[in-house]
C-alpha cells in the first residue's frame, strides 16, 4: 500500500515508519523536517499536500498540537490551539482526503489516553482527544468506497515521559504503540478507538 504518514518525524510517527516501511510504500510528511511538509491547521496546506502526493491507499496521522495546563489558567488561545491543530487539523485531513484515498483504503487518526483517563492539567487535551473519537465513530458511517477510519489512542510514550521528567514506568514503548497503527492500517475494523497501552 502507498501510505502517507503525517507527523512522520515525531516520536510515534518515527516508530510507525520503522514498523511499516519495509512492506509498504511510505510517504513521510511533517511540519518542518520532511521533504513534503504540511501545516494541518491550514486547509490550503493540506490541499497542497494531496496535490503533491496524489492518491494513496491510506493516511496515518500522528500529529497535532494541544495545550497542557490548568483549567484556571488556560486562555481562549490555548483552547483554540487544540481545536484548530490536533482536532480540526485531523478532521480536515479526512474531509480533504476523502477524495484522495483509493477504494477500500483507510484513515488512522490519533487521539490519546487522556480522553478516557484525564489528569490535572489535561482538560484542553482531553476535550480534543474525546472529540476525535466521537468524530471518527460517526465519520466511519459515511466513508465512501469501502474506506475505513479508526482512531488510535496511545498511552503516554516512554520517550515522552522521559522528555517531561515524568516517571517512564507508566509509559508504553513507541514501537508497541506503533503496532496499534499497523493493526488499524492492515486490519478490517472501522469506527474503532484502538487503545495502544
Amino acid at each position: 500500500m502507498k501510505v502517507i504518514i503525517v507527523g512522520a518525524t515525531g516520536t510515534i510517527g518515527s516508530a510507525i515508519m520503522q514498523s511499516i516501511g519495509n512492506r509498504h510504500e511510505v510517504v513521510p510528511v511533517s511540519f518542518s523536517k520532511s521533504t513534503i511538509k504540511v501545516d494541518i491547521a491550514d486547509k490550503s496546506s493540506i490541499s497542497k499536500m494531496f496535490e503533491t502526493i496524489g492518491n494513496v491507499d491510506a493516511l496515518i496521522s500522528a500529529t497535532g498540537l494541544a495545550k497542557f495546563g490548568p483549567l484556571a489558567t488556560l486562555s481562549d488561545a490555548d483552547f483554540a490551539l487544540g481545536l484548530q491543530s490536533k482536532l480540526m487539523g485531523q478532521v480536515n485531513l479526512v474531509r480533504l482526503g476523502m477524495n484522495h484515498i483509493n477504494d477500500n483504503g483507510s484513515f488512522t487518526l490519533t487521539s490519546g489516553i487522556l480522553s478516557r483517563r484525564p489528569m490535572e492539567g489535561s482538560v484542553a487535551i482531553s476535550l480534543v482527544n474525546s472529540a476525535l473519537e466521537g468524530f471518527g465513530r460517526a465519520a466511519a458511517l459515511e466513508m465512501p468506497r469501502g474506506i475505513r477510519i479508526n482512531m488510535v489512542s496511545p498511552n503516554w510514550v516512554v520517550d515522552t515521559l522521559k522528555a517531561f521528567n515524568m516517571d517512564p514506568s507508566i509509559g508504553t514503548a513507541a514501537d508497541v504503540v506503533a503496532q496499534a497503527y499497523v493493526r488499524a492500517l492492515e486490519g478490517t475494523m472501522t469506527g474503532e478507538v484502538i487503545e495502544a497501552v
Copy 2:
C-alpha cells in the same frame, strides 16, 4: 439551592424547570425568551449573565447549537458552529462560572447520545458531544471548593423526534430525561456522563 438553568425554555430545559422548580430557587436563562438572556457563544454575554444573577449553587446547561448534516457537505462554518456554541459555549459557562458557584455547588452540562451512538449525518454533533464528555471528565479533577461537574447525555427526546418527523418510539420522554439532571444536581457524583435513556 439557587440554580441557573441555561436553555430554560427549550424542550429539555422546560422539563428540568418543572422537575425542580418546586424545591429549588430556579433562575431561568435563555437566548431570547427569558427575562435574563445569554448568548453562550459570546463570552461577554456569559460574564454579563453572572454579573446580573450573582453567585449561585448550581448551573445547569441544556443548550447549544451544532449542525446535523452529511460529512461530505458540512462546511467549515458548520463545524465552527458546534465548536463555538454547544462546545466552547458550555466550556465557557464553566470557565467563567467557576468564580460564581458557591462551595460544594455543581455544573451540569449537556452532551448527547450521538457521542457514543452516531448516525449518518451526526459527525459534527458527535464530535462536539464527545468533546464535552472529555472536557467534563478532566475538569472534574480541577474544580475548586468541592464543586462538581457532570454531563448528561440525553437520548433523543420524543418531542424532538416528532418535530423532525422521525419515529418517536425510539425516544425518551422529556420528563424522564430531566430526571438525569436532577440526579446530577442533587447527587454527589462528579466527572460522570449520565446517560438519560
